[in-house]
Symmetry: C2
Subunit: 198 residues, 2 copies
């Protein structure tokens, strides 16, 4: 599996939001919805070897992780409302320390960035942090099929989060000469991995 971790600093942690206003009242949930799309969709199907972890840090109950698992996922369409609706359903569940499945292939639990990254580290996974000053992904040797990629949202990554990431990350990576939205970065990461695997 490849895993994408996206930090949603303002993303609501209750299901009490409108699908008609994902950018506003849902705390830029639209960004996370597009990341789900970028990470999972192929032209004719879905990438089954992918997990997407949305770290939700907005009000009213920050510190929840919604995971989309490509292998088991159902009922996801490419549009933002579709992923938004599955996130909303997950957030309508009580989040406890262990994952609860809200719809097929979508899970919620109470956790933060540090918990999540430490689990990857303990599992021996290679963690890559996407940042403008990182090494060019095209030059990166040994980027494997079980890599974990950590990305920020429109607010980037805070200093505190960066300290957490730096403790566990194998490397910082850059996707090109111009800074892009996280969902766009995910496309370029996939393209590079697809080419390396081809």
């Amino acid at each position: 599996m490849k895993d994408f971790v996206i930090i949603g600093h303002k993303a609501l942690t209750t299901g009490d939001f409108s699908l008609n206003d994902l950018p506003g009242s849902a705390g830029r949930m639209d960004i996370l919805c597009r990341c789900v799309n970028s990470a999972l969709f192929l032209s004719h199907g879905m990438r089954r070897d992918i997990n997407v972890h949305l770290v939700l840090l907005g009000e009213p109950d920050p510190g929840k992780v919604v995971r989309f698992n490509g292998e088991k996922l159902k009922y996801l369409n490419p549009d933002e409302r579709s992923s938004g609706s599955l996130i909303k359903k997950a957030l309508e569940r009580d989040a406890i320390e262990y994952e609860t499945q809200s719809t097929p292939g979508v899970y919620i639990r109470r956790a933060g960035l540090e918990d999540l990254l430490n689990e990857f580290k303990e599992a021996g996974r290679d963690i890559y942090y996407l940042r403008e000053d990182g090494e060019d992904i095209r030059e990166c040797e040994g980027l494997g099929n079980d890599a974990v990629f950590v990305l920020g949202d429109h607010m980037g990554v805070t200093e505190e989060e960066e300290a957490i990431i730096d403790k566990v990350a194998k490397q910082t990576l850059n996707i090109g000469p111009i800074s892009l939205h996280s969902d766009h970065c995910i496309i370029i990461i996939h393209n590079e991995l697809d080419r390396k695997e081809a």
Copy 2:
């Protein structure tokens, strides 16, 4: 300028649709909305040297082109509803042979794929057609800052359209070993051009 042409085979040609149902009642308008996002957004701003031409071929009045011009564009946010709303406003105008501006940087006129591509050809522009069996974009020499890229939607490109494209296209290009949605292809095209220009 770089120009992206996306064919929306089922995309509605009236503004009489709901922003709450872009994939359904609006004829997969969500695909075109995501292409607008991919073509225009940077992390901190907008690509100003871009035109996006949406060729709308759905009912009830097929053969309209909505153009987004990065240089003049205002009121566009990254979410699908935002581009959907600007497309809807454009479609609420009467479409005539010449462009009418519906909102800053968004224009509508009555035209089809052939009209549009012939204009590019007459202007001496290099037209590239994105297709799985094309040449790898990374190997493509001479890909310039004034290229035109033609992409299909979820239905691909019909034989008739392909005949029109083949008459004017300089080359067919491929973005990688796996077939992707058009909005994802646009990200990879941009990344390649960004790298060539860097």
